[in-house]
Amino acid sequence: MAEKNYAGKTVEVSDEGYFVNPADWNEEIAKEMAAEVGIELTDKHLEVLKYLREQFETGEALTIRKVGKSGIVDIKGLYQLFPGGPLKISSKLAGIPKPTSCV
């Protein structure tokens, strides 16, 4: 476990940087985290992050296929928003645990 400072708040994160308590998350924090990995967070990014958080709340395993069918963005678009890790990077920025699905 580790602690990180984002937007003036100390949050507990896993060794890989995923939030331990999704409730710690807010948009300001997401923006700072995104900047860290070279992503400038747009409204579209935020829409995806919020969708992921909602899905996480329901306890559903997240897949890029589900995001692709959410009507927010297609899979190609998702790759463009979060290059090199459509589900991993987005989950991290959404303040939810590391995804556990294989698709």
Partner: protein, 167 residues
């Protein structure tokens, strides 16, 4: 002793040479998984594996009910070989498997191929096998980038931290 340095995988080339449901999906899951991890992925279909990218066949793949010792009845009892011989049984079992997979968000083959190429993965067919089965480019999924020779395949395998996976 030298320091152990972690060098992440950069590229995978996955070869699918068999056309059963599980063989094709193994290749698809590995290629898609690589793309999702930011690893460059190239997927190569040859011999019976070509069924996995042949438009007419790819969404109707079967799993063998004969000669498959791991095949079980729902509930875990051994699947009797004699049952597997009956017409329609393999179809039924295979469509049940596809349904189970869909429930886990494993898409049908055509959609899976689209997911892989959407992430920048590339799909190829083996020239020798395409010629042998008398297939044409138009018989193959639109996601197939090219029909290539084994030499071209190896040319793609260059670079540090590249792995070739034969399913």
């Amino acid at each position: 002793m030298s320091e152990h340095a972690e060098t992440p995988l950069k590229k995978v080339l996955v070869i699918c040479a068999k056309g059963s449901l599980e063989d094709v999906y193994a290749a698809l899951v590995m290629a898609n998984g690589a793309v999702m991890e930011g690893i460059e992925a190239k997927l190569f279909f040859t011999f019976f594996g070509l069924d996995g990218i042949t438009k007419k066949r790819m969404n109707k793949l079967h799993t063998a009910t004969l000669g498959n010792p791991a095949m079980r009845m729902p509930g875990g009892l051994q699947f009797p070989s004699l049952l597997g011989v009956l017409p329609g049984v393999e179809s039924g079992v295979s469509s049940m498997m596809r349904k189970e997979m869909d429930a886990l968000d494993m898409p049908p083959v055509d959609e899976f191929l689209e997911m892989i190429t959407a992430g920048g993965g590339e799909v190829f067919a083996c020239k020798l096998a395409v010629d042998m089965f008398k297939l044409k480019k138009e018989d193959l999924s639109d996601e197939v980038k090219d029909i290539i020779t084994i030499g071209q395949f190896y040319e793609m395998a260059g670079g540090e931290n590249t792995q070739i996976i034969f399913t």
